[in-house]
Amino acid sequence: MSAQTHPASGQIAQGQIAPIHTDQAYNFAYLDEETKRMIRRALLKGLAVPGYQVPFASREMPMPYGWGTGGVQVTAACLTPDDVLKVIDQGADDTTNAVSIRKFFQRTAGVATTEQTTVATVIQTRHRIPETDLSEGQILVYQVPIPEPLRFLEPRETETRKMHSLEEYGLMHVRLYEDIARHGQIATSYAYPVKVEGRYVMDPSPIPKFDNPKLSQNAAIQLFGAGREQRIYALPPYTDVVSLDFEDHPFQASKADHACDLCGSNTAYLDEVIIDDAGGRMFVCSDTDYCSTRRAQGHVGRLGTAQEHVA
């Protein structure tokens, strides 16, 4: 394999829609209709109160807690037979857990799947927001491990819920300030806390802070599911989302200071890959669909080779 193949490009060809083999032994999208209704109610409440964590009776799913059961339940509650589903993990469609979740919905819901961000109607993601802008009518479902942004400041759920209801977020600002005092900057690089519509402090799930600006004023519906912690929260389209910072230490979205070695993008979030025993590195887009689309358009990075232009 040459360097021009993306490290994690999937087996489903670009623009094609994968075939359908549904498992008839289960209800559409696995969950029974009553459970889906319960989840939809929580989703509606979440959308009505953006950033508020709605408790929901999370079910045991046939994949382990911590592996996306919250996202899977939200996706299951949102899917209709006409949907086109995209699943990414670390920005890539071909990472093992993304493959596993996509297979799960192919089997239980028989929905069409895609790798193209623009074609998908529902995108389930872990740790990234796609580089390509989302549009109205799309739903982005996040898998969330710890929904509580205050959890590592206060381990008790009873306390953190009280803090949210009283809008008592001083502790969070103290933590960010201590970072600055110690390191000269806010030393949080992912799961960077945000404030939603000036009210709730929210954990954006462990996306790199590079992705935080995309949370705000997004045209798509953003839904967050935490299965083990039994919480759902949401951002309706065009919600104001502000990353916490200080006037003299403004928030900065950061990424590796390189261009993608395959597609040459200067603006996409990059993965760093060790390529030889001497510790040589290459940097490639973490968003595999974005990278391959650019290469198909003729963009070539430092280690890439020109692709035949796809009309």
Binding site: M1, A3, T5, H6, P7, A8, G10, Q11, Y26, Y30, D32, P55, F56, A57, S58, R59, E60, M61, P64, Y65, G66, W67, D89, Q90, G91, D94, T95, T96, N97, A98, V99, H127, P145, R156, E157, T158, H183, G184, A187, S189, Y190, P206, I207, P208, K209, F210, R228, Q230, S254, K255, A256, Y269, L270, D271, E272, V273, I275, M282, S286, L303
Partner: protein, 375 residues
């Protein structure tokens, strides 16, 4: 050349095929049947039913076979199956006083109506490997005694007659269902007991043990431990009466705990309660100790800050399916976050190095100045 993490789909399929092969093991050895597991690994089956919250021996045995004997994995299979089952209704509360006991012991009274029955227990066996079992020797039949029919009274009720133990008034409030509603705190006792009965045996044991060693001590005596079959019946609205659906094997433990009294309660004995599917003694006893420790608030006791007194700590961490899933998820790729951390640590180090160099230069300059001044 860059060799990539490609072909996740093919790798997964191949891994699953390999797993299936490993599960079967050496083909020249007879395959284990689920009936054998049900009959000969009964206590494993019991644990899977208890923590899987599903009373079905055959499915539990299947789960154990499929999981290669990894009981937490088996419990997970059962839980994931159970969650898809429709609900027809709620049974009537089982009456453990009606239990057909195979074992019933009390540590607080030498004898009691109904008698003490040791039953099939490991207690008093010497833990010596029985090498005869290597040769799969037959078992001599055990002596048979005449069963005493009729209800078996609860031993704690004898204490209750004298008012020596706290009364537990009858309560028909429909308890919350942990599997249908999210756990919200504070959790009442019914909900705590639900969480404990499906909680991880090792975790609940550890918590119980910690109370014995002084972390929230509750001075427990096993008032009674009983194991046996109890009938389960369901009210059928169309019929207007309850019909018996079958029997479940249960282990019930009632502890009697010292209590010196508090501002609100006179000195009397108090109760801890454990009820678990199957013959699961260790779990039932552990559960009753933890139950009692968690009751500190209603009894007006001090919170000494012991883990077993902390309902939020116990309830949020006792479920092994939640725990193992989250623990093992750190095997999943995290390279996006790790990349963000790499950038951060590089930046912090660059700044620290720059500061150190600047400081060293400043110090060197200052000392030159001082030397010059001294000269």
């Amino acid at each position: 050349m860059y060799v990539a993490v490609k072909g996740g789909e093919r790798a997964i399929d191949a891994a699953h095929a390999w797993l299936a092969e490993e599960r079967r093991g050496d083909l020249s050895v007879d395959e284990l049947s689920t009936r054998q597991i049900e009959e000969q690994l009964t206590l494993a089956v019991n644990r899977v039913m208890a923590e899987g919250s599903l009373y079905d021996r055959e499915l539990a045995a299947l789960a154990i076979k499929q999981s290669r004997g990894d009981l937490i994995e088996a419990i997970f299979l059962i839980r994931a199956y159970r969650t898809t089952l429709p609900r027809f209704g709620s049974s009537r509360p089982v009456d453990t006083g009606e239990m057909a006991c195979i074992r019933r012991i009390s540590a607080t009274f030498k004898d009691a109506p109904g008698g003490q029955v040791l039953g099939p227990t490991f207690d008093y066996t010497h833990r010596l490997l029985d090498f005869k079992l290597l040769a799969e020797g037959d078992v001599a039949p055990a002596p048979v005694a005449q069963a005493t029919p009729g209800p078996v009274p609860h031993i704690t009720e004898f204490l209750n007659k004298d008012g020596l133990i706290e009364d537990q008034p009858h309560d028909d409030t429909q308890p919350n269902d942990l599997t249908r509603e999210p756990l919200e705190l504070p959790a009442d006792r019914a909900l705590r007991l639900q969480a404990l009965t499906r909680g991880d045996e090792g975790f609940v044991l550890g918590m119980a043990y910690s109370t014995q060693r002084g972390y929230g001590r509750t001075h427990a005596f096993v008032g009674e431990l009983r194991i046996g079959l109890c009938p389960v019946s369901l009210d059928i609205p169309e019929l207007g009466f309850a019909i018996e659906l079958g029997e479940v094997e249960l282990t019930e433990c009632e502890t009697v705990n010292q209590f010196k009294g508090s501002k609100t309660e006179p000195p009397q004995f108090t109760r801890g309660y454990g009820l678990v599917f199957g013959q699961s003694e260790r779990k039932a006893i552990s559960m009753s100790l933890v139950d009692r420790a968690l009751r500190w608030r209603e009894l007006g006791e001090d919170n000494v800050g012991a883990p077993a007194q902390d309902a939020e700590f116990v309830l949020y961490h006792c479920d092994n399916i939640q725990a193992t899933g989250f623990l093992e998820h750190i095997k999943l790729p995290h390279y996006v976050d790790f990349q963000a951390e790499l950038e951060l640590i590089r930046r912090l180090r660059a700044e620290a190095t720059a500061n150190a160099t600047a400081n060293a230069t400043a110090t060197a300059l200052a000392s030159t100045d001082m030397n010059e001044a001294a000269e």
